[in-house]
């Protein structure tokens, strides 16, 4: 069965510094990969997704992620973090079920220090 691991529960980054959130997946075939963000008191919002093609994908709010098949990873990056990026970030994988059943990681909470 597919699974997603986000090894960092919390990460603190200074405003203006770069960010990388780690995500590793387990799935035998080519995965469909997603990053979602959840701001306090809100539902989840899609940041970006990877289905095929270019392994570096661009998303909203200046985020990008790189798919590395050899490492089974899909890490999320941002070159310069803003205070408004403080939120919880979820990596997810979908399989070829046709119904977009996502399996989510446990999330990484990002704290931004002044």
């Amino acid at each position: 069965a597919q699974s997603v691991t986000q090894p960092d529960i919390h990460i603190t980054v200074s405003e203006g510094a770069s960010l990388e959130l780690r995500c590793n997946y387990s799935y035998g075939a080519t995965p469909y990969l997603f990053w979602y963000v959840q701001s306090p008191g809100q539902g989840l919002q899609l940041l970006l997704k990877y289905f095929s093609g270019d392994t570096l994908v661009q998303g909203i709010k200046g985020f990008e992620a790189e798919f590395k098949r050899s490492q089974s990873s899909f890490n999320l990056r941002k070159p310069s973090v803003h205070w408004s990026d403080a939120a919880e970030y979820f990596c997810a994988v979908a399989t070829n079920t046709g119904f977009q059943k996502l399996v989510f990681g446990t999330g990484t909470r990002l704290l931004v220090s002044p």
């Binding site: 979602y36 539902g43 119904f99 996502l102």
Partner: protein, 114 residues
């Protein structure tokens, strides 16, 4: 803009009560989902539906049932609430056409069972 509306933001119920969580989407989406979100566990799929009157069990369906009588509405039912069902419940919807259709989430219902 897609809107997924969950009828209650906060709900407090007693053990043994029958609880209804309601979700309505306004974009004519075929797929609808119920997840529960717990700290350290991420999001786990309870049930999903890909058409009116159709339902499929997710990863943790025990103690829950669902109803989808109209395309826009998907209800989660706790037949006899228990304290271990205290959690944040998130509803989501998506178009069935392809993986390019992301999940759209509501803002969640925080349920406390006492």
């Amino acid at each position: 803009d897609v809107k997924v509306t969950q009828s209650s933001r906060y709900l407090v119920k007693r053990t043994g009560e029958k609880v209804f969580l309601e979700c309505v989407q306004d974009m004519d989406h075929e797929n609808m989902f119920w997840y529960r979100q717990d700290p350290g566990l991420g999001l786990r799929l309870i049930y999903f539906s890909y058409d009116v009157k159709m339902k499929e069990k997710g990863d943790i369906p025990e103690g829950y049932s669902v109803s989808r009588e109209k395309k826009e509405r998907f209800s989660l039912i706790l037949e006899s609430a228990s304290t271990n069902q205290t959690s944040m419940y998130l509803c989501a919807s998506s178009r069935a056409s392809s993986y390019n259709s992301p999940l759209h989430f509501g803002n969640g219902t925080r349920l406390t069972v006492t």
